[in-house]
């Protein structure tokens, strides 16, 4: 008897439960992560992507904004291509994000990655940094024009950067050179394994100059430093420790270069997850902890939501491919 009534109950309860389930899922359009989020920096620790990933993870945790922990993971290699290839296999996974910036466009254009930005889901653009040109503190070059005059005279002088040929630092300096009246491809660009590696070599006098991210260079500049900055690629001077560094335009070279940074997700990431993350990041940008970190690192907020960011990436691809083909580096 009991068993029968139980069965009956079950018969009634089942559809009820299903209904209840449907209702909660309808109400809770809001998706939330069910485990920690793998936040991939497609490079070694210490670089721009890594700093973004670790700073965001820290601020999110400090401010208690996210339901789950953001775990920073480094997947270095191939200027990002190794990480992209791994993430591309993880289609639809809502618990995996990665930091991105111009190499996401440049590396595929140079033919060094099977995957480009259209293979992934744009989540949000976060902020922007700029390129900075550094020389040794005791260098004879006082401004950019000195440096480029010397480069014109002796094209063998080497400029180091932290990424592969045809990638961000190279494009940035090649574009600058052509704006300064030199043959863009004449710059003897030496790729190092990272901005830090390039700066060590500059300190030791092994190369003439370095181009790297302004944020990455902050710790190396200032009083007692062995390095000196000649110019930044921003439209206006930056704040903080870099307030003394003139822009390219101030020195008569009409050229700017943005190192935008953003977050992308796995291919075909569910829409609810994208909405969750873009809102989360927008909220994060409003916090004091983020403000403080950005000031320290010389970042300027430049938020865009998923849709805007996607359109922006398409624009950037068009722009970069025309620059690259001018330079003879387009390899598609």
């Amino acid at each position: 008897m009991t068993s029968l009534s139980l069965k009956r109950l079950a018969v009634i309860a089942l559809p009820m439960a299903a209904l209840a389930g449907m209702m909660t899922s309808a109400q809770a359009q809001e998706w939330t992560p069910s485990k920690s989020i793998e936040f991939v920096a497609p490079a070694n620790p210490g670089g721009g992507w890594d700093t973004l990933v670790r700073t965001m993870s820290r601020v999110l945790q400090q401010e208690g904004l996210a339901d789950r922990n953001f775990a920073a993971i480094n997947v270095p290699g191939g200027g990002g291509a190794v990480a992209w290839a791994q993430i591309a296999r993880d289609s639809g996974n809502p618990h995996k994000l990665f930091a991105t910036s111009p190499p996401m466009i440049l590396v595929p254009l140079a033919g060094a990655s099977r995957y480009d930005h259209t293979d992934f889901t744009p989540v949000a653009r976060i902020n922007t940094d700029y390129s900075i040109i550094l020389v040794a503190a005791d260098s004879e070059y006082q401004d950019l024009n000195d440096l480029f005059a010397a480069l014109k005279e002796n094209p063998r002088l080497s400029v180091g950067g932290g990424s592969a040929p045809g990638s961000m630092d190279h494009i940035s300096v090649a574009g600058l050179a052509s704006a300064a009246g030199l043959e863009a491809s004449s710059v003897n660009y030496i790729p190092f394994s990272g901005g830090g590696d390039a700066m060590t070599n500059l300190m030791g006098g092994h190369i003439e100059a370095v181009i790297t991210g302004a944020g990455e260079s902050v710790g190396q500049l200032g009083e007692g430093s062995q390095l000196r900055a000649l110019g930044v690629s921003a439209e206006e001077r930056l704040g903080g420790a870099l307030a003394d560094v003139p822009t390219y335009q101030e020195q008569g070279i009409d050229y700017t270069f943005d190192i935008w940074r953003g977050v992308m997700g796995t291919p075909d990431m569910p829409e609810e997850a994208v909405t969750y993350y873009e809102d989360l990041f927008a909220e994060m940008l409003e916090t004091d902890a983020w403000r403080q970190a950005s000031d320290q690192l010389g970042w300027i907020d430049a938020y865009q939501n998923s849709e805007e960011f996607g359109a922006f990436l398409d624009e950037q691809q068009e722009q970069f491919s025309s620059v690259l083909s001018d330079l003879g580096l387009l390899r598609q």
Partner: protein, 497 residues
């Protein structure tokens, strides 16, 4: 005197009860991590970043540094007992440590490793304290050309590591360089020898090769010899005590390797692994009984152990004084420091002396902890050798597989491990030495990258390698170390005739 004052100040920080607890926790966790193959200090430290970011920066770095040098300290255990290096820096320790264990001298080998590590660690902290600011100049004086020369010098060790046949040693070294080339080329972004496989894009991890060629090959070899092989002798551990003459014998190698290791560590990119190989091959050349290296010579355990611990401390020089990480592990430490709001670099000594001197002082304490912690553990851990052979072999097998899988979570890497195990077995059966392959694998990549960078800077002019004094002297030393043994041999032959 300044240094003494600073050190006192540092001890003031390091001796705070909470910091003593952190040192202890760090070195204890490090020892365990080091003993397990695969779980290296890099992944352990990356996992700790969220724990440390709320901590006082000096405490955070004290804890994390403890894990790092603790892991190098503990890594020798599995190298000696199982021929399965726990961390890359202790591969060279297995060359003589494992033969000693097979002879029933495991206890002595582990004790020597502990003492040598202690001396290497302590000597190098003294160096770190006295000359760190000056040494940052040495670190930056190494450009691409100098690195190339250093790697060439390192590769000459192939001669001393190929025990019987030089030709076979060279063949093994070439294979090592070939393995190091696999993956995306950092200079151009081109894939090399990946055969279209996504799993090879990142190259082949050093530990996969080391565990395969040493530990797995050993397992296969023992299986091949069948059950007829003699059982491990009773009391396989042997005594921990060193005789006075043994202490005298290793005193020289330990002190030389401590200094050599420290300076290798100071150079960004060189680190503990290269330091230990250089220490080992240097001692093998100097020693009168050099030909017994590889058969269980105590100097062959002492030298690499002193060198790798010294190099580990040395790698803090570029990190703290330049803000530039010299290795994967110190890169994670740099990231952790940034997260804690400390920017290492030229200004750190002035701005955050508490972090710098606190960590330096804590390293003295940590090294003592490590010695006290490890010595009593030796008889316990070494008991593993008393296990019946079938159990021991399966244990090594499981150890290796967990280690490799834990690193990359990739089944492909397990297959690679198996492949390298078979390669190692083949090499053993046909008399090819494994050490040159490993050495070439470590050095090959840096050597190639540095050479191409140097040539690009010089505009393709090869004279760049001899124009620079550091590079020229390193290349000359390399030439000497190649030429002298050959000359000696010829003279011997001439006398014999």
């Amino acid at each position: 005197m300044d240094a003494l004052n600073n050190l006192m100040y540092g001890f003031g920080i390091a001796l705070e009860p909470i910091n003593i607890a952190y040192v202890f926790a760090g070195v204890f966790a490090g020892t365990i991590i080091g003993m397990l193959p695969g779980l290296g200090p890099i992944s352990a430290l990356a996992l700790m970043i969220p724990i440390t970011f709320a901590m006082e920066p000096s405490s955070g770095l004290i804890l994390m540094a403890g894990v790092y040098y603790g892991a190098i300290f503990g890594g020798s255990t599995s190298s000696i007992l199982l021929n399965a290096p726990g961390v890359a820096g202790t591969v060279a320790t297995s060359f003589d440590g494992y033969p000693m264990a097979k002879k029933g001298l495991a206890g002595k080998a582990l004790a020597i490793a502990a003492y040598s590590s202690f001396v290497g660690g302590t000597v190098s902290v003294v160096f770190l304290m006295l000359v760190a600011p000056l040494l940052s100049k040495v670190a930056v004086s190494f450009g691409p050309a100098e690195y190339f020369a250093l790697m060439v010098l390192g590769l000459t060790a192939v001669v001393s590591l190929s025990d019987k046949s030089l030709v076979k040693g060279l063949i093994a070294a070439v294979v090592g360089v070939m393995i190091s080339i696999v993956g995306i080329d950092m200079q151009t972004g081109t894939e090399r020898f990946t055969f279209g496989s996504i799993n090879l894009l990142d190259g082949i991890d050093f530990l996969v090769v080391a565990l395969g060629i040493f530990a797995l090959a050993e397992v296969f070899y023992m299986l091949l010899r069948g059950g007829g092989g003699k059982e491990a002798p009773r009391n396989a551990i042997g005594s921990l005590k060193l005789t006075r003459s043994e202490v005298k014998e290793i005193a020289g190698p330990v002190s030389r390797s401590s200094v050599l290791g420290f300076f290798t560590g100071v150079l960004p990119g060189a680190g503990a692994t290269i330091g230990s190989f250089l220490g080992y091959s240097m001692e093998k050349r100097i020693a009168k009984d050099g030909h017994t290296f590889g058969q269980g010579n105590i100097k062959g355990v002492a030298a690499p152990e002193a060198a790798n611990n010294a190099a580990c401390t040395g790698s803090f020089v570029p990190l703290l004084t330049l803000g530039v990480p010299g290795s994967g592990t110190t890169a994670v430490l740099l990231g952790a420091l940034l997260v804690m709001g400390v920017t290492p670099g030229p200004m750190m000594l002035e701005q955050r002396p508490d972090v710098f001197w606190g960590v330096v002082a804590s390293m003295y304490i940590g090294n003592i902890f490590l010695l006290v912690l490890n010595l009593p553990l030796i008889p316990l851990i070494a008991k593993i050798l008393d296990l019946p052979k079938p159990l021991l072999l399966s244990l090594i097998l499981i150890f290796c597989m967990i280690g490799v899988y834990g690193m990359s979570f990739s089944v492909f890497d397990l297959l690679l491990l198996l492949g390298f195990g078979l390669l190692g077995l083949g090499m053993r059966l046909f008399g090819f030495p494994a050490a040159p392959l490993i050495l070439a694998l470590i050095l090959g990549n840096i050597m190639e990258e540095s050479m191409r960078r140097a040539l690009q800077i010089s505009g393709g002019d090869w004279m760049t390698f001899v124009d620079k004094p550091i590079s020229l002297s390193l290349l000359l030393i390399a030439l000497l170390s190649l030429g002298l043994p050959l000359l000696k041999k010829r003279r011997k032959r001439a006398i014999a005739e």
